[in-house]
Each structure stands twice: as structure tokens, then as C-alpha cells.
């Protein structure tokens, strides 16, 4: 095969163009994440697309930073908070994170909804020594083994499954437990937690039923649970699947005690999309009750009315506050001499730290902050009833 001179020239130019970004990247150092006047903190999250309801997490963090700035900032620096919409698409997450790290310059990220989206940028952030506090998802891969720059707040689904099962057996006195779980790491982690707890009672699930994210008809799955005589069914599924499960159960006369992970703890939403069937459902929760009189909850609720009047005061909105809160504490501990290393050191020093979420303990060897949840129940009209205050998982092996 022969190439003409012209073809060779065009080919060479194309290769040169393709190499330019790599060369440019190699020579460029990252812009700093702070200066004398401001600290830049970023967050990605779905503001549009199918997961947009969870976009309120990123907006909740904004409320906290706005409050901090209103109170004068931290050691003379204001926080500049930059949100980016990733549409819950890992490829988009990579793009927006790179933009913030390489063009804007950020000291840290907070929150960030989604396991897959987070996993897509986890190694990139660590390689560039960018601190990431409070991923808005529970994934073993974030914190095991310890990533020196990543600090998790969200309780692991294994721990939650275990605590919920203990509640069903000990408090509700139900022995026939079924499980409906999404066939991915979220659902399987929950299943593992439920099974590990049942093993301590020498019990087994009467039925364990997987559902695929694309399933829209759950009749046969619900019939498996009904046929097994499940008195309680633990769900680790998406809001849509939970709604379909409850509607289908109602049409075939199956009325177990539904128990779910905290991902379905937005009761007003769940009550609405199930046409009221959500009443009586028990869930885990990673934050105080929305109407809690905890002094910080009162403060944030009032601030939200003032600074973000258009926002609904829902669990995912103020989850954005509790995921971001530890970095504010760490920045206060660092003082004026800020650096990434100093921030990491301050985060590693956070012990027995409790605001509106679970108790957080971090150290150099352990970056999974919490294993505790509250247990709540949906009351009339999507209201919240506290059944059990913060409870840690005594079976959590990662703490030992």
C-alpha cells in the first residue's frame, strides 16, 4: 500500500493535533483551589435527567455554604461553591469534574450523587490530591481500602440492612422476612447486611427476589413473596420500583410490613407517587426528622426559608448540608494556613462529630465515617414518625 505525500502530511498534522492536549496537560499545573479571599468547593449532581429529584443534595450544600459566608466565612475566606449538572451520567461527571479541577481550580468536592458517577472520578480526584467529603452514595469501593483524600459520611447499605433486620426481628417480632432487592451493588449490599443479621438468629430469608433496573412489571416477584408467606419485606430498590411493588401488592391482596433503605426516606415524594400506600412503611434514615427541633435543624430550616424559599425542605435537600458540614468543621480547625495536607489532617482528626446526621469518626486508617441510622415510619399524609434513634451496627466488621 502506498501513501501519497499529501496523505502523509494530513496524517502527520492529525497526529500532532491529537498529541497537543496530552502535551499541554503534561506541562500545565492545576490551578490552586483557594487564595487569600476564597476557597473553591465543587459538587456534581443531576439537576436534569431521570435522577433530577436527587439534585436537591447539591442545592442543599449551597445553603450551608451561603450561611457560612453570611456569618463571615472561614478565617477571612469566603467559600465559592460551584455546582455542575452531570445528569447522573458518569461520562458527564468526568467532564464536569475535570473542568472544575483543571480550569476553575477547586480545593475539594462535597457530596456527589451516585455510586457509578463517583466511581468514575474517584481515582482521578485521588491522583490529583483533591479532597472529597461525603459522597452521596454508599459504596465499599469509595473507602475500602482507605483513600487518603476521600471521607465518607453515608452509612453503608450492609450496615443499614443489618440494623433494619434487627429491628424487624426484635421489635416487630416478625420471623418470616422476605427481600426485594435491585440486582446491583446497592441491592446486593443490602441483602448481605440482612442475611448477616439473620444468621445471628439462625434464621434465613423466606424469599430473596432480585429485580432488574429495567423491570416495570413486578407481579411475579411480588407473588414469590406472597407465596412464601413473608410477614415483612425489606426493599433495597429505586423509588419507581417501590411504587410499583406497593401498587402491585395492593392489587393481589398482599399486605406485608414494608421496610426500606434510607434511599426511599423522602416520605412526601413516596406518599405521593404511591397514592398514599406508603403510609406505614418503615425506613432507615441518615438525617434527623425534617421537623426535628434539634437546634441545627431549626437553624437550617429557618435559613432555607430565607435563602432558598423555592426549595422543598426534604430529606435529600438537607442531606446536602450534612454531607458538606464536616468540611466546614475541618476548614475551621485548619486555621488561616490552608493547604490540602492541612485539610486532610484536620479531616482525619474528626472524631465523635455529630450534627444533623450520624455520628462521624474518621482517622488516618478509617475513612468510613458512620455505621448508624435512625429508623423512621411514614405516618398520615407523608409525615414522619421516629421509631428508633441513632443506632450503630454492632456487626460491622469494617470497624474491627
Amino acid at each position: 500500500m502506498k501513501f501519497s505525500r499529501r496523505s502523509l502530511f494530513v496524517f502527520t498534522v492529525l497526529v500532532a493535533f491529537m498529541l497537543i492536549p496530552f502535551l499541554a496537560h503534561a506541562q500545565r499545573s492545576l490551578p490552586p483551589g483557594f487564595d487569600d479571599n476564597e476557597i473553591r468547593i465543587g459538587q456534581w449532581g443531576p439537576q436534569t435527567g431521570p435522577a433530577a429529584p436527587w439534585g436537591s443534595v447539591a442545592r442543599g450544600s449551597k445553603l450551608l455554604f451561603d450561611l457560612v459566608n453570611e456569618e463571615g466565612g472561614i478565617h477571612g475566606r469566603k467559600i465559592r461553591y460551584i455546582m455542575r449538572d452531570d445528569m447522573y451520567n458518569p461520562a458527564q461527571t468526568v467532564a464536569v469534574v475535570k473542568e472544575l479541577v483543571e480550569r476553575v481550580g477547586v480545593l475539594a468536592f462535597v457530596g456527589g450523587v451516585g455510586s457509578a458517577t463517583g466511581m468514575a472520578v474517584k481515582d482521578y480526584l485521588a491522583a490529583n490530591k483533591i479532597v472529597w467529603v461525603g459522597p452521596a452514595a454508599a459504596d465499599d469501593g469509595f473507602v475500602f481500602p482507605v483513600n487518603p483524600y476521600l471521607f465518607a459520611v453515608y452509612p453503608l447499605y450492609k450496615d443499614e440492612g443489618s440494623i433494619l433486620t434487627k429491628y424487624i426481628v426484635d421489635k416487630l417480632n416478625m420471623k418470616k422476612i422476605g427481600m426485594l432487592y435491585q440486582n446491583d451493588s446497592y441491592g446486593k449490599d443490602g441483602l448481605e447486611g440482612v442475611k448477616s443479621r439473620l444468621a445471628t438468629y439462625r434464621m434465613k430469608l423466606v424469599a430473596e427476589v432480585p429485580i432488574e433496573p429495567t423491570d416495570k412489571d413486578l407481579a411475579s416477584q411480588i407473588l414469590i413473596l406472597k407465596n412464601a408467606g413473608a410477614e415483612a419485606v425489606v426493599m433495597f430498590v429505586s423509588p419507581s420500583h417501590a411504587a410499583i411493588a406497593l401498587r402491585t401488592s395492593a392489587t393481589i391482596g398482599f399486605k406485608p410490613q414494608w421496610v426500606s433503605s434510607n434511599t426511599l426516606s423522602d416520605y412526601p415524594l413516596m406518599f405521593r407517587i404511591t397514592g398514599g400506600l406508603w403510609e406505614g412503611v418503615i425506613t432507615g434514615a441518615f438525617g434527623e426528622l425534617p421537623d426535628s427541633m434539634h437546634p441545627l435543624m431549626v437553624k437550617y430550616r429557618e435559613a432555607a426559608k430565607r435563602l432558598a424559599p423555592g426549595e422543598r425542605w426534604g430529606v435529600f435537600y438537607y442531606a446536602g448540608i450534612l454531607f458538606a458540614d464536616p468540611i466546614v468543621e475541618a476548614l475551621k480547625r485548619v486555621g488561616r494556613n490552608l493547604s490540602t495536607e492541612a485539610l486532610v489532617k484536620a479531616l482525619n482528626s474528626i472524631q465523635k462529630y455529630h450534627t444533623i446526621g450520624p455520628l462521624i469518626n474518621w482517622s488516618e486508617r478509617q475513612h468510613q465515617g458512620s455505621d448508624a441510622i435512625q429508623i423512621q415510619k411514614c405516618g398520615p399524609n407523608g409525615s414522619y414518625i421516629l421509631l428508633q434513634d441513632w443506632t450503630a451496627n454492632d456487626l460491622a466488621t469494617w470497624k474491627k
Binding site: T48, P50, P53, I211, D217, L223, S240, I244, T251, G275
Partner: protein, 291 residues
């Protein structure tokens, strides 16, 4: 195994797939276009019903009638705006056009109503159940699906067999140029087919929404299953696609009960096997295009 209950559930969801598949087949029968925006059209119509019910708080049946009129206009509009301007498009071109229309409709719904799930209900209590035979719990949703499926089948049979428009649609499908020479205004026939198809899809969309939740992508999966049911039954046969849909529902439910991991794919595996033996589907005559 609760055979009776699985039968009821399988037939109910299968009938729903079936009459959604009819919507696909009506367009295919007249213009040989596989409409990949069928799910999006049904979704938009269901959202319109939801909007009328929740924002204007009209009674259900008035909202239903307005929605049906909207659905017909939507179908005609999509044919007029997306399909008609394409001059001599290839099959691939038509697929891309309908896929583009689907993306447009999903984007439109996200923009107008947001991505958050919404509750949609039909005007009866779905939790009311009957047990005509021990072990066969029947509910209002399943009863409504069966009744609507029977009415639609009868209507379509009469329409295609005995009405001028129905015959014109069949003639257009068999030979567009001959139909034109015989005085049939084929462009109007295409527009009517899209309108009718959109109307049937809207009814199916409302049934699916009342079983699950309403969100901009909720019809994608039912569309895939309905389409598969249509292929299984034979894309040119209306009774065939209803039976194809029913088979889809039954296979999924019975197999899903024993092997829940396999539920999402088993029906497609069966379809591949059937199509290997009968490429035109179970109930269509083998179709050979004359050159």
C-alpha cells in the same frame, strides 16, 4: 406455584402489551415504518391527562376525551412534521427519524413536567379484588385491561374489514401507487394511521402509568416488550400481535416466578428461538416483498 394468579397477572400485562403493540402495527401496516417514538407519544399523552386531572382538576372522563383528541393530533403532527418532509427515506433513515422524535418527546416532558415521578390513577380503586375461582385474585385494573382489549379488537376488526377508510388503509399498505391511482389520498391515510395509532398508544400509556409511575422514560421498557410481542405474533397481523403480547406476559410471569433473575430477558430468548423457525412471526403469512 400460584398458577391461577400468575395466569391472571400474565394475561393482564400481556393484554396491555398487546394493545400497545397494535399501535405499532397500525403504522407498520400502512407505511412500513417501525415507529420508535410510540412510547414517547404515549408518555406525552399520559402526561397531558395527568396535567388536566391535577392542574385543571377536570373529571376523569372529560380529561380522557381531551387526551384522546390530543393524542390523535400529536400522531398527525409527528407524521406531518417528522415523516412527511423526508423524501424517499431509507429504512435506516426512518428509524433515525422516529428515534429522534422519541428523544424530542422525552426532552419535552422533562422540561415541562420535570423528571420526578408522578402518581397517575384510573377512576377506580385498584386495591379492590375479586376471587371468582380460589387462587385467582382479580382486580379492577386487570378487568379494565381485558374489557378495553376486547373492545379495541372488535373495533379494529370491524374498522379494517367493513369501513372505507379501513379498506383504504389496507390498500395503501399493499400497494401505495396503485392505491393512489384508485383515488385514495394516501397522505391522508398515513396521517390517519398515525393519529389512530397514537390514540391506541395513549390508552395503553394510561394503563401502564396507573400500574407503575409516570416519568419521562416510563414507556421505554413497555415499548420494547410490546414491540417484541408484535414481532413474535407477526407484525402484519392484528390478532397475532395481541396473542404475541399475551404470550410475552405469560412467559415473563411464569418464568419470572421460578427464575426471577431471568425475567427481563426470557421473553426475548423465546422470541429469538421462534423467529429462527418462523421469521415472520407466529401468525403472519410469510412476507416476500416483490421487486
Amino acid at each position: 406455584m400460584p398458577v391461577g394468579q400468575l395466569l391472571v397477572e400474565g394475561l393482564a400485562i400481556g393484554a396491555c402489551y398487546g394493545f400497545f403493540a397494535i399501535a405499532v402495527v397500525i403504522i407498520y401496516k400502512t407505511s412500513e415504518v417501525i415507529n420508535f417514538s410510540q412510547g414517547g407519544m404515549a408518555m406525552i399523552s399520559a402526561y397531558v391527562a395527568f396535567h388536566i386531572l391535577t392542574v385543571y382538576q377536570y373529571p376523569f372522563w372529560l380529561a380522557f376525551i381531551i387526551t384522546m383528541i390530543f393524542a390523535i393530533l400529536l400522531g398527525v403532527l409527528i407524521e406531518y412534521c417528522f415523516l412527511r418532509p423526508a423524501k424517499h427515506p431509507s429504512i435506516l433513515g426512518l428509524i433515525v427519524i422516529t428515534l429522534g422524535a422519541e428523544m424530542f418527546l422525552v426532552g419535552l416532558a422533562s422540561w415541562k413536567w420535570g423528571a420526578e415521578q408522578q402518581y397517575f390513577n384510573l377512576p377506580f380503586d385498584q386495591s379492590v379484588t375479586y376471587e371468582p375461582v380460589p387462587g385467582m385474585v382479580m382486580n379492577n385494573w386487570a378487568l379494565a385491561v381485558f374489557v378495553v382489549a376486547i373492545i379495541l379488537m372488535t373495533f379494529l376488526f370491524v374498522f379494517f374489514k367493513y369501513t372505507k377508510l379501513g379498506v383504504a388503509m389496507r390498500a395503501t399498505q399493499q400497494n401505495k401507487h396503485a392505491a393512489k391511482i384508485m383515488g385514495i389520498r394516501t397522505e391522508r391515510v398515513f396521517a390517519f394511521a398515525w393519529g389512530l395509532s397514537s390514540l391506541l398508544g395513549a390508552v395503553a400509556g394510561m394503563f401502564f402509568a396507573s400500574r407503575a409511575v409516570l416519568d419521562p422514560t416510563y414507556m421505554m421498557e413497555p415499548y420494547m416488550r410490546a414491540f417484541a410481542g408484535a414481532v413474535l405474533g407477526g407484525l402484519m397481523s392484528i390478532p397475532g400481535v395481541i396473542i404475541g403480547g399475551l404470550l410475552m406476559g405469560l412467559i415473563e410471569n411464569f418464568f419470572g416466578f421460578v427464575y426471577p433473575h431471568w425475567k427481563p430477558i426470557i421473553a426475548f430468548v423465546v422470541i429469538i428461538l421462534v423467529l429462527c423457525i418462523r421469521p415472520s412471526g407466529l401468525f403472519a403469512k410469510h412476507y416476500v416483498k416483490k421487486v
